[in-house]
Symmetry: C2
Subunit: 133 residues, 2 copies
Amino acid sequence: MHEILLQLRLSPSSGVPLYRQLQDQLQALIASGKLAPGSMLPSVRQLAAGLEINMMTVSKVYSRLEADGVIERLRGTGMRVAERTASRTLALRQADLIPLAEDLVMRGEQLELSPDQIVQVVRQIIARRKASS
Amino acid sequence: MHEILLQLRLSPSSGVPLYRQLQDQLQALIASGKLAPGSMLPSVRQLAAGLEINMMTVSKVYSRLEADGVIERLRGTGMRVAERTASRTLALRQADLIPLAEDLVMRGEQLELSPDQIVQVVRQIIARRKASS
DNA sequence: ATGAGTGTATAATGACAGTAATACACTGGC
DNA sequence: GCCAGTGTATTACTGTCATTATACACTCAT
């Protein structure tokens, strides 16, 4: 029984796909260091049983995290949190944000908001999240 | 034959739903004044024929635009561009942006970007769009 | 070798979104 | 009244996404 299980909670009725909830939560645990680099993740069967979902859903999450370079596969043995590799450059990480930012700006312009008014909303969200963490 | 038809172009293979493409384009034409308040829109049949899509798809777009207060329905007669009503308050329009901003900020935090680095991406998009318009 | 542990490929199912075909209800000019 | 023009309710089809059940391939300790 992995202690990690206690920190995971899925809401099947939220409309957000299970695999995405799980992926986000695992990624957050890894980013925060609660899952340390080099440590093993629970097996797909353990995690699936604990969360009462299907193995394959867990497996897909692991595959996606591996594609992101967050975890590594050890064939026949399990999945391990990757050593923190040399972080991608700032520009590269910012590039990942562009599609979301485009949506935001486009919608803001439709609402006839000025650039500063759009940015203001973003800063407000950042502040709100910082306050609640 | 409405001249408006010439300004509309749909890309069925883009992955973006037809109704959303059409809605965005019509809203842009209205916001920019190319479709003036009080003027009539093409009928659903005209528009559907011109764009080679189904009537109902056009009708759904009209319904959504009406729900947004952008156009008005004249029963049995057609749809008309609404007079520019007293614009909603700033706070109300900004509230529409919150879900998109939350996505953006959450993703930015996962990428370990600072608040300023997130905002920088947004401003970059705004500048890019201004330059190309 | 074998057994119990890994992760995964494949295929079936269920839900939902987008689009379409058809039939209906309304308006206004003749 | 009728007819040709509006928009729309209903229904059905289709494709895609999320999830699952099952069977397979690998590793390691014994």
